[in-house]
């Protein structure tokens, strides 16, 4: 049975949310429980697919918290990877959203818009912790148009550019000199395509919205009400990809490749470069040992000095019956010590101030993991979450389809981007 994607459920969800919001306002009371005062009562805490590998870690954290707050009971729930957005919306509609929820900004946006998440900036009991997190990560969880940050910043991720040294050598390129800028990247892709007779592609996928961001294209206007990626710089990026697609520098399957599929083409050693994250290293070692022996690691190119990052957060249910306990717990999980402990277990990065100055993230210990870790941690300074939170899956699909049309030569890059922006803006107004 094909699993429905997020987009199919969205209209139903929005309708349901509006209904519950309407009912809620009739009730008057917003769930009771003040965020100030002592932490007491039973709260539920929901993570997104973390139990399988970090069961003991989280059980340990909960035990620690209980020791300091004996009057709080914590029930830990963990949801599987797929259809998490559907699960959240169903809970939101039925009023069963847990007290502390693991969300990324795009998942938080519809919930916050429906008034289900606590605005941390406007809740003094939560806002007083703001200074403990890096400005970038607090900003990353701040939702445009909703005047505030809606989740305690949790783990961050970013990653370097991985490349295949064997394929570099075979096309006569120096494997020790990977591209540093987009201009160099495109020149190398041309060379590689020419020398291999179009057999080896440099890149596996068409540009995503993050690529536009890294290339220096302004993605949206300031209040996130209209997309702007169809300006000159964006057109230039698509035009470069169009040339690559014609010369064979872009994988012939790029038009239909999903990010997972691009990763797979890199593992198959059909594509020479792939921007990845810090966890990919283990993936390469496990699933493509022969690629791992030839793996090169370098900084992902970007044109404006601001690398991309992904942010995760812990939101507090605005209707929680025990807000003080929920805020205390969300803060506890995301405090400096616990974030650093988590980031020592898996290749993610803490969002607390000062954490990344720890030698663990600044001193290369000679292993490949160490190199990737230090390189990624360096990139997090000044990094932004480029993916606009209001950009739904449907809008991402529109962009992908229009770019595909441009690469196939059906439309000019400018026309394709204009069309994508126009249709996305229409959707934005409707939502």
């Amino acid at each position: 049975m094909p699993l429905p994607r997020r987009a199919t459920l969205l209209p139903a969800i929005l309708l349901a949310l509006t209904l519950t919001a309407a009912c809620g306002s009739g009730g008057g009371d917003d769930g009771g429980g003040s965020a100030e005062g002592r932490a007491t009562g039973g709260i539920s805490f929901q993570t997104w697919n973390l139990r399988a590998n970090f069961k003991e870690f989280f059980e340990g954290l909960i035990r620690d918290f209980r020791q300091r707050n004996p009057e709080v009971k914590v029930k830990w729930l963990d949801q599987p990877a797929d259809n998490y957005a559907d699960k959240l919306s169903a809970d939101a509609a039925a009023g069963t959203l847990p007290d502390v929820v693991n969300v990324s900004p795009d998942l938080a946006y519809p919930l916050a818009k429906a008034g289900l998440l606590m605005n941390l900036d406007q809740e003094p009991a939560a806002a007083r912790f703001k200074g403990e997190y890096t400005a970038e990560s607090w900003q990353g969880n701040t939702l445009p148009g909703l005047r505030g940050c809606y989740a305690f910043p949790w783990y961050l991720n970013t990653g370097p550019l991985f490349y295949n040294k064997r394929l570099f050598k075979e096309s006569g390129l120096d494997p020790q000199r990977p591209p540093r800028s987009y201009a160099e990247l495109f020149t190398m892709a041309d060379t590689m395509a020419r020398r291999s007779g179009g057999k080896v592609a440099t890149l596996g996928g068409i540009p995503s919205i993050e690529d536009f961001g890294r290339y220096g294209v302004p993605l949206m206007n300031a209040d996130a009400t209209a997309f702007t990626y169809n300006e000159a710089k964006g057109v230039e990026l698509v035009a470069r990809y169009q040339e690559l697609y014609r010369s064979g520098g872009l994988d012939p399957q790029a038009l239909t490749n999903t990010p997972d599929k691009v990763g797979q083409r890199f593992l198959e050693q059909k594509v020479a470069m792939n921007p990845g994250s810090a966890h990919d290293l283990a993936n390469f070692r496990k699933n493509a040992p022969s690629l791992y022996r030839n793996l090169g690691i370098t900084d992902a190119p970007n044109n404006n000095g601001k690398p991309n990052m992904y942010v995760m957060g812990l939101a507090v249910n605005a209707h929680s019956g025990h807000k003080a306990a929920a805020v205390a717990f969300a803060h506890f999980i995301t405090d400096r010590g616990n974030q650093e402990a988590f980031a020592h277990r898996v290749a993610v990065f803490p969002s607390t101030k000062g954490s990344l100055e720890d030698p663990y993230w600044t001193k290369d210990d000679g292993t490949d993991e160490g190199r990737v870790r230090v390189a990624s941690a360096r990139m997090l300074k000044g990094a932004v979450n480029y993916t606009p939170v209001v950009m739904s899956d449907e809008m991402k699909t529109i962009l992908r389809n229009e770019i595909a049309k441009a690469l196939q030569g059906e439309k000019s890059p400018r026309q394709a981007l204009d069309d994508a922006v126009e249709r996305s803006n229409k959707l934005l107004k409707r939502g």
Partner: protein, 275 residues
């Protein structure tokens, strides 16, 4: 002569091609689940025979998630769904085919229309309903919406309608009431369709993902399909584990089908053979 051989060869070639297309991906999963950690998974062309075959992935699945516990939950749900569907669909089907009552056509139409409603569009309403009933986060709530499938009711109705009327008329003259005719005469004649309904109900309940995910929140109650989803790592993927999980999930269905296939094919053709 040569023509005949050629034609036969072509026919078998086509059959083989279709076979490769349908079971190829499954074979790839099966072989991936046996591959050791030192070999490449994504090679092109794909390699089907593992170089270092190992059962390690299967034990690893059981280490990461309580796979037997989830399988037991799935089994409970699937068996309950088989029982409720067999009982409910055969009774409803018999009523629609044989009994005369006011609103029979409307009832029929309601079942037909129910076929057209996709689960995704009503999933939230269903969830809210389960919550009102106070049974969200229980296995009962997983079974309930699919307890009597409308497709199964229609299948049973057609099977009963195809039985010769005369036999039942004779039974009426002998003094049999509706229950006796249903249980003693009609039911034994539609065994094939009952097997089809049983397989459909089992498969539907066993494979369902979205509904159990939405209605269950405690991972103790998760069914196998939902639980196996935990194998998709948050930070790194191990396709070998996912493949092993897939094989674990599919195996019972293969066994069930192998046991019931005799009835299944009889049931699929049941309507046609009656004169």
């Amino acid at each position: 002569m040569v023509m005949r051989v050629m034609r036969k060869a072509l026919r078998y070639l086509l059959l083989l091609a279709v076979l490769a297309l349908t079971i190829g991906p499954f074979l790839w999963q099966l072989s991936t689940s046996f591959k050791g950690t030192t070999e490449d998974i994504y090679t092109s062309p794909p390699r089907l025979l593992p170089r270092h075959p190992t059962l390690h992935n299967y034990t690893a699945v059981a280490d990461i998630i309580p796979v037997w516990h989830y399988a037991l939950n799935s089994l409970k749900v699937a068996l309950a769904s088989v029982v409720t569907n067999l009982a409910g669909a055969s009774m409803a089907g018999y009523a629609l085919a044989r009994l005369r009552f006011r609103g029979r056509r409307v009832a029929m139409l309601a079942f037909l229309l129910a076929l057209l409603v996709p689960l995704e569009s009503i999933v939230i309403a269903q969830f809210t309903m389960m919550r009102e009933l106070g049974i969200n986060n229980t296995l009962t709530a997983v079974v309930l919406p699919g307890a009597v499938g409308s497709l199964n009711v229609l299948l049973m109705r057609n099977a009963f309608a195809a039985l010769p009327m005369e036999v039942e008329e004779a039974a009426v003259i002998d003094g049999a009431n509706a229950w006796q005719r249903f249980a003693r005469i009609a039911l034994p004649s539609v065994r094939g369709t009952l097997a089809v309904v049983a397989i459909f109900a089992f498969m539907g309940a066993w494979d369902d993902f979205l509904w159990p995910l939405i209605v269950l929140s405690d991972s103790d109650h998760f069914t196998l399909t939902v639980g196996l989803n935990f194998l998709h790592g948050t930070f790194q993927q191990n396709p070998r584990l996912v493949a092993a999980g897939t094989v674990i999930a599919v195996a019972p269905l293969v066994v069930l089908f192998a046991c019931l296939q005799r009835y299944f094919f009889r049931g699929v053709g049941e309507g046609a053979v009656k004169s």
